[in-house]
Symmetry: C2
Subunit: 383 residues, 2 copies
């Protein structure tokens, strides 16, 4: 009676496994002062303008004239329009092409509902493990890996492509040239790209495209997913969105229509005050506050990168993305345990992102500069 694909997942989910090991370490060493360079989670408090907006929204809901019941399954227009104004007007994207959700995780999982399970799915290795997990649970039978380090299209034909750039865990962002190769690849194979742009706001190189829609023709092949989690400190608040252009037509069917149908059917939308908070993060004041947070994380990244460079270590990323993928030349779970026990640092073993990540560690730069300084001192002592 049980879905056999779910059974195969067992208890192997990466972040869950890390939580278990860390929790067991904490029980043994309750006074240890851990530095978390593991899961990419906020290290700074919520920006004041977001807090104010959420407080005002619930105050409004508690008053007769401001009460709010079920919201639109696809999100409130005020937020969809704010996203267009801030990010997508330049690509001529309309608010009806923006779908609000409680995060990219959900959108990645929900996208499966739209497609036939006999499609050939392309997933990088190493990559954020959810893609492979959800493709398996949802019953996609043909899953093909491509090189997650170079992040270039493979020779084989793929039909549904999970593409993450700036990439998790490798920490690099595709160049305009390489992203163009993906759009051409998708056109050639009539494939759809699910473009996970969770870290777009971290790109520092102005030559790198922040959106896949900077590439001509991308609207005909790509759904772009974005989140307030990393850009505006929303990991604990839960809000993200998918851009589904009307130009994206498969077998004569507008994917935008199907996405809307799926959302209107299967969800009751995202919490109203949270959407008001997300809107506030895109206001002038909100952007000022959240960009200052991103700058802090980037400065922490620079501290760690500079240290690794000076030590002659090999690594990728950390410039256009808050992750550094460090070649440690050891089995990565062994190195995880070593880092945790000897340096009290939590990082993520590269093999957790697939075989291609073995002998790497992912360091998150979601930490304060003070924490980054402390981390490199501990790494120094470790040598």
């Amino acid at each position: 009676m049980i879905n056999p694909h779910l059974l195969q997942c067992k208890r192997s989910y990466l972040f869950f496994e890390i939580e278990q090991r860390v929790s067991s370490f904490r029980q043994k060493h309750p006074s240890a002062n851990l530095i978390n360079l593991g899961i990419g989670d906020i290290a700074l408090p919520l920006a004041p303008s977001i807090k104010d907006a959420i407080q005002n929204a619930v105050l409004q809901m508690s008053q007769e004239e401001g009460k709010k019941g079920y919201g639109p399954g696809c999100g409130y227009r005020f937020l969809r329009e704010a996203i267009v104004d801030t990010e997508y007007k330049k690509y001529d994207i309309d608010y009806k092409e923006i779908f609000i959700s409680d995060g990219i995780n959900s959108d990645i999982c929900h996208a499966s509902d739209l497609f036939n399970k006999d499609l050939t799915v392309l997933i990088a290795d190493p990559v954020y493990p959810l893609y492979k997990m959800t493709a398996a649970i949802d019953g996609f039978k043909n899953v093909v890996s491509f090189d997650g380090i170079t992040l270039l299209p493979p020779e084989e034909k793929g039909e549904l492509i999970y593409l993450c750039s700036p990439s998790n865990p490798v920490g690099v962002s595709l160049s305009r040239e390489d992203l163009t190769k993906w759009v051409q690849y998708a056109k050639k194979h009539k494939a759809i790209i699910l473009y996970d742009g969770a870290y777009a706001d971290f790109i520092q190189d102005s030559e790198k495209p922040k959106s896949i829609y900077e590439i001509p023709g991308a609207k005909e092949v790509a759904i772009e997913m974005r989140s307030f989690s990393k850009s505006a400190g929303f990991t604990g608040l839960r809000c993200g969105y998918s851009v589904v252009p009307k130009e994206l037509v498969v077998d004569g069917i507008e994917i935008n229509r199907l996405w809307e149908l799926r959302q209107e059917t299967k969800t009751n939308g995202v919490s109203y005050p949270i959407q008001k908070g997300a809107e506030a993060s895109l206001s002038g004041q909100g952007l000022m506050e959240t960009r200052a947070q991103i700058k802090e994380y980037q400065a922490s990244g620079a501290i760690i990168r500079t240290f690794l460079e000076k030590q002659g270590e090999t690594f990728l990323g950390g410039l256009d993305c808050p992750y550094i993928f460090w070649k440690v030349n050891k089995p990565s779970w062994d190195f995880f345990d070593e880092l945790l026990e000897k340096a009290n640092i939590i990082a993520i073993p590269g093999s957790g992102f697939g075989q291609g990540g073995e002998q790497y560690m992912r360091l998150s730069t979601f930490c304060t500069q003070t924490q980054a300084q402390e981390a490199i001192q501990r790494l120094c002592a470790l040598k």
Copy 2:
């Protein structure tokens, strides 16, 4: 490339269709004062203690010592425990058997992930249309209807049962005797019951079971789903939960373990401030406030029921559930248009819940007593 089951859904989703018709009516009659007895949505503002809790939670998140990132995929322990303390201690249910979500809608859809798509699914007719929609989209091939008016188990064997009591749209709650028949049926056929108890807090008859776990043996066959939407005015805030007892074992596998795995894999949990709001709704003060809201809706229901009785109309429900299922003896979409145009009342055509609901209208009693009085005056004039 497209999921053929999703294509079949087309634009037929009930609430969406109603929205379209109402929106078109509003454009033609912008000054019409509509009374909404349609979608079961809040008519009262958010309770003060819930507002306070959410405001405090985001204030906390905006401070260094209170910041909150990713929460547990299965929900915060404080909320899981508050639910046990308020509702489930008497059934010896543990907090690890409670899974927080953004609403029953999501849990209904996500439950599909656990099961093989060749199971025989039992769905009432008439019933809340999501069950049938999600079973179709998710690829269940064998869907069998049972009588949604009597809500009794059919002769045929079913393996996965969507059971809603107090029932939407019929508005009645299963008696202990009838619910016992379902538990026995499930045991006999080794079936699983997905028990949607969204309206449990509206039961006025103290003899009716509020939880399926009042029936001996139910823990071995039933997942119970509950929501803060109707009980605490959370339709715009989004929070609910599923109870998955450890005793529920299928093919030797604990469903509780699978549910946890699914949630830890596919979700990042529910917004922290919303979970704090839900917790507050279960505090002494919160329960006092939200129970007063329920009493108001029940009083509105009594006004409408009394009116229909006096008019000699035939109807079901409205006592243990905020819905009245009114036998109108006309095609129900025709009656919908008539009610909207002549009485400016929004109700839901029974046929939207399945063929078994044809010639019925569902009236929601989620309105103030003032609105209920106004509604019966308009209904009177209609005759």
